[in-house]
């Protein structure tokens, strides 16, 4: 990752939402803009966003949801542990919306660096990262 990007990332808060017991999960973090960090207080809030039920932040801005492809291990771990669902279940929800005209699925990014780049560019974005994959220059804010 380029240095300029790391500097930009410095201004972004990485917000820890829930803690689970699995060691894999403890490395998984949901990331949002600081303005929206107080709108997710439970896993239900988080689930609502990722199943595309809650589509707007309280500010009235549309939420941009970013995920990794279905076959990505980090995606699988995120869905299971943070959303308490199975990847095939969330895929069914997204597909039904997509092919009945009732919603749109999240935007797929191909890598963590792309995820960070997208979230950095969009103040209304939400996504997730593996803490171990990201440079130390990122500041975390643990509100719990």
């Amino acid at each position: 990752m380029k240095k300029s990007k790391q500097k930009k990332l410095y201004y972004w808060l990485l917000y820890l939402i829930l803690e689970f017991n699995s060691p894999l999960i403890n490395a998984m973090e949901v990331i949002v803009n600081v303005e929206n960090n107080n709108q997710i207080s439970s896993f239900h809030d988080l689930q609502s966003i990722f199943i595309m039920r809650k589509r707007y932040w309280d500010s009235g801005e549309k939420i941009s949801v970013f995920v990794l492809p279905d076959n990505n291990n980090m995606h699988k771990a995120f869905v299971k542990e943070k959303l308490q669902m199975f990847p095939h279940q969330i895929r069914k929800i997204w597909d039904r919306m997509t092919y009945t005209g009732t919603g749109q699925p999240p935007i797929i990014v191909r890598s963590i660096s792309e995820m960070l780049e997208k979230i950095q560019q969009n103040p209304n974005a939400i996504g997730y990262i593996d803490k171990r994959d990201v440079n130390e220059s990122i500041h975390y804010l643990n509100l719990e």
Partner: protein, 421 residues
């Protein structure tokens, strides 16, 4: 070559629809920005990239069958006569207002012919009337897919079901009757800690292309006249706990009138169907279990002389187990059956009554099938399956025009490759 040209025309047809829709949705922004003497191109561009979304899919299947043809000339041969292709656009204008449309191209054996059929699958405006944290009530207007059972809304999208072939309850002959309605939908959703409740009520006109149904009634693939839809309705109540336990009840009542330019023995015929569905699904990490039960009542009334007034009571059910051998590889086993008349389950009554003219096997069907679904990656999927069938109630008369040659015991192998974006 002529086939290629027709395909191109069909494609052109639905690209036109999509372009028109996109143009319309952008137009509203152009009008809004008239206040500012300079168009806000950044905003315009952002709407294009952030708010308008395109998705699509294409599936191509091949079959080899014995006994009867299944979609094309597959008997003791190889047929590639099932192609499904869709392209959709979705535009979220505001928190409460969205627009969506999908164009569908479908080639399904002799019914659609080798050139296939292009159609507007859905085109709707969705407006949320009331919203709070846990509840949403809204209305949709336009052409809307009917939420019936588990698979009906997305029946043509292979990605949304485990096998290429849907159970008999969804089969081809009733496809057009139950697919969608042009009219409106009222819906309500309520989310609780112990699950989500949803309710929908659809009202409108069903599709007017009902050749498959007409062919069954006239017992002739060379149909005359057509069915014209009358206002009909349908409703579904669904309970869903985290997509783990799904329970749904659906009820649909569809009315059609027979119309023909030339007076014939079918003149005056009215066809109506009522369907009641019970749907259950359990999803675990490694496996999914699905079962659906459908009762159908149909009436054929008022034909001049071709057929006497007839009432019919049919029954369909299946059980399906899907096991995920790997995250992207699932095996499915299904038992499925159809009974065209519950008072004549074996078809013997009608066979005897018609003096052997109407074979008993047209009154029932049973299918044991096994399939594999491999999600190669996010975009590509491959399915393969084998079906063994007993009975012929779902054999297409378009693909098997010689009714005397239709076999009671038959089967087929199928493979399908699908791509989505």
């Amino acid at each position: 070559m002529s086939q290629f040209i027709t395909l191109t025309w069909n494609k052109t047809f639905y690209y036109c629809i999509l372009i028109t829709l996109i143009a319309c949705s952008n137009l509203s922004f152009a009008i809004e920005s008239e206040d500012n003497s300079v168009l806000n191109w950044d905003k315009y561009q952002q709407i294009w990239t952030d708010d308008i979304h395109f998705h699509g899919f294409i599936s191509q299947a091949i079959f080899h069958s014995y006994g009867n043809n299944i979609w094309g000339q597959s008997k003791d041969s190889l047929s590639a006569d099932l192609t499904e292709m869709g392209l959709n656009v979705y535009y979220q204008y505001s928190r409460d207002l969205s627009f969506a449309a999908q164009g569908l191209y479908r080639r399904a054996g002799e019914l659609t012919g080798s050139e296939g059929e292009a159609s507007l699958d859905y085109a709707l405006v969705n407006y949320t009337v009331f919203r709070n944290t846990d509840t949403r009530i809204g209305i949709m207007a336009g052409k809307i897919k009917n939420p019936i059972g588990i698979y009906n809304q997305t029946r043509d999208v292979s990605f949304t079901h485990p096998m290429i072939f849907l159970p008999f309850a969804y089969f081809e002959k009733s496809r057009n009757i139950l697919l969608s309605m042009t009219g409106g939908q009222v819906y309500a959703e309520h989310n609780t800690a112990w699950g989500d409740l949803s309710f929908s009520l659809n009202y409108g006109l069903s599709l007017d292309k009902n050749l498959a149904l007409l062919a069954v009634i006239q017992r002739n693939p060379a149909t005359t006249g057509e069915f014209s839809p009358k206002y009909s309705f349908g409703t579904r109540f669904k309970y869903d706990f985290n997509k783990q336990y799904i329970f749904a009840l659906s009820y649909y009542e569809i009315d059609l009138d027979y119309e023909s330019e030339i007076d014939n023995p079918f003149t005056g015929l009215n066809f109506s169907i009522q369907e009641f569905w019970l749907s259950l699904q359990y999803n675990a990490e490694k496996y999914s279990l699905t079962a659906e039960y459908k009762l159908g009542w149909s009436q054929l009334l008022g034909a001049k002389s071709a057929i006497p007034d007839t009432k019919n009571f049919s029954e369909f059910w299946y059980v399906q187990a899907e096991y995920r051998l790997l995250d992207n590889l699932a095996a499915t086993l299904r038992y499925d059956q159809a009974v065209a008349d519950v008072y004549d389950r074996t078809g013997n009554k009608i066979q005897n009554a018609s003096g052997g003219f109407f074979p008993a096997h047209f009154m029932y069907n049973q299918d044991i099938s096994i399939g594999l679904r491999w999600d190669i990656n996010h975009d590509w999927m491959l399915k393969g399956e084998y079906h063994h069938l007993h009975g012929a109630s779902d054999v297409s008369v378009f693909d098997n025009p010689n009714l005397n040659e239709i076999a009671t015991d038959w089967g087929f192998y199928a493979m399908q490759i699908s791509f989505s974006f």
